[in-house]
Assembly symmetry: C2
Homo-oligomer: 291 residues x 2
């Protein structure tokens, strides 16, 4: 059994990016620049956006963090987006989600210039992804493709079962893995809450992407031997034995499933750490396109 | 066994549209207007685009057919598109594909205003479809959803197997049928040329969408009893017994598969006739959005 080590892989990717940025800077005096907008004071969002800014610094990117108060109006936020859209110094930017309830998230995503949408959430970029055209693939699916690629997990002709149909993970994963691409060419089954005979289906899977958000949902009796398991779930569960008062659980019962698996991602340390690395990769891509 | 009669269903839809158009005209003096651009003199394309124009007339739409010579440059075609993009009198328009080889098809599709792209081929519309946002769903997938709907074929919780991963049929069908929508909520498996155990998979299917383009590929021994079969294939096969010298074959061996099926589309007269009806439906939708 091989652990798909997202933490190490993400560190490798960041190191590669840092080398490329150093070269870009010395050779052409170009520095990729990522901006992030955050509205309000949600603790988890602030932690996450700060981690992104810090990651930028570590690889040598410029970064700009735009913090707006909780009561920012939709119109004010749209104005900030327009400023970033036309600022030639910014290669890409993100608007940290979720947004306060009085702001229409879809409207905000639609306002971002697709060529700067390094989160890959704009419909134009989702459409390009679905059409297998060059685009920004959003961080979580992109990170999963990268993990499978770096660990040389064969996907061509394999049966992938995706559990969960969210727009940010399940749906794009099912699209991407069925396409003609290096990590792709798989037979893909997408399953969800309406699926009746899930166990029957997961037992056929060579690769399972668990992205439904129910802790330890996937048990050993639902998988066949030598399965590859990608666990996208991450749920906080109260745990009085931990200093923090909680522990993180994935959608996979790791202890039992890992005994049958050929490859498996841990939680934490699997898919999670990959996302920031892939955001940086998208920003570098945006920078290359602009220069 | 029930035949999913595309010809009759398309006629019903056109009649409904004609009634709505008559009412729209008398009540608000609004007439939907579809334009079509055709480049060159490909026989099949001309026949098809003429059928679209004729269908417009029959339901009371205005239509404009713009015929450009084979040697039209990409720039000239882009200019024509820009004229239609800004023409407030045009609700929607299409550029008949395929285009001559010296023109970049993707560039042309990208130039169409997504709000007038009633073919639903622009990445922004494909992305909106994938995100389950209001959009123009392209004619063939839209027609299949409509057929399943009108014949009350249950899809929720059913296992749909899609054969073929084209951007115009297989891929969008697999996305749409897995979504939370009236005709949707299915467990969907997308299969293609790299799929190893296809028969094993099709034998599990409650619904099969055959869209691979190989005549009579799907045989009776590949399906279970009471399957629903949607045949998207349409291939001309030489036949000296026919006046035309050919006959049309679908991807399904109809005679044998129909004996086991609960519902099945014929070829011709199944999915094919639905496409023009759905193009009209999209144009009517565009007209409603504009008024």
């Amino acid at each position: 059994m091989t652990i798909l080590d997202g933490k190490k892989t993400a560190a490798d990717i960041k190191e590669e990016i840092a080398l490329e940025v150093a070269e870009l800077k010395s050779r052409e005096n170009i520095v990729p620049h990522l901006a992030a907008i955050i509205v309000g004071h949600d603790g988890a969002s602030i932690t996450y956006v700060n981690a992104k800014v810090k990651a930028c610094e570590r690889v040598g990117f410029e970064s700009s963090l735009i913090r707006l108060p909780e009561n920012t109006t939709e119109k004010e936020l749209l104005n900030e987006i327009e400023i970033l859209n036309i600022d030639n110094d910014i290669d890409g930017f993100i608007v940290q989600l979720p947004l306060p309830e009085h702001i229409n998230e879809q409207k905000i995503i639609m306002a971002i210039d697709p060529d700067k949408d390094v989160d890959g959430f704009h419909p134009t970029n989702v459409g390009k992804m679905a059409l297998n055209l060059p685009t920004f693939i959003s961080a979580t699916p992109f990170g999963i493709l990268e993990l499978l690629d770096r660990y040389k997990v064969e996907t061509s002709g394999k049966h992938v079962v995706v559990i969960g149909r969210s727009h940010i993970v399940g749906s794009p994963m099912s699209i991407l893995l069925s396409q003609k691409r290096k990590v792709g060419n798989a037979t893909v089954t997408i399953t969800h809450s309406r699926t009746k005979n899930l166990k029957e289906i997961t037992l056929q899977a060579d690769i399972i992407i668990a992205a439904l958000g129910i802790p330890e949902f996937l048990k050993a009796d639902m998988v066949k031997d030598n399965v590859t398991v990608i666990d996208v779930g991450i749920t906080r569960v109260a745990d009085s034995n931990k200093k923090s008062g909680y522990r993180l659980l994935g959608d996979v019962a790791f202890d039992e499933v890992s005994k049958k698996a050929a490859f498996i991602t841990p939680v934490p340390g699997g898919v999670g750490p990959m996302t920031i690395a892939m955001l940086l990769k998208n920003t570098l891509l945006a920078c290359h396109r602009n220069n």
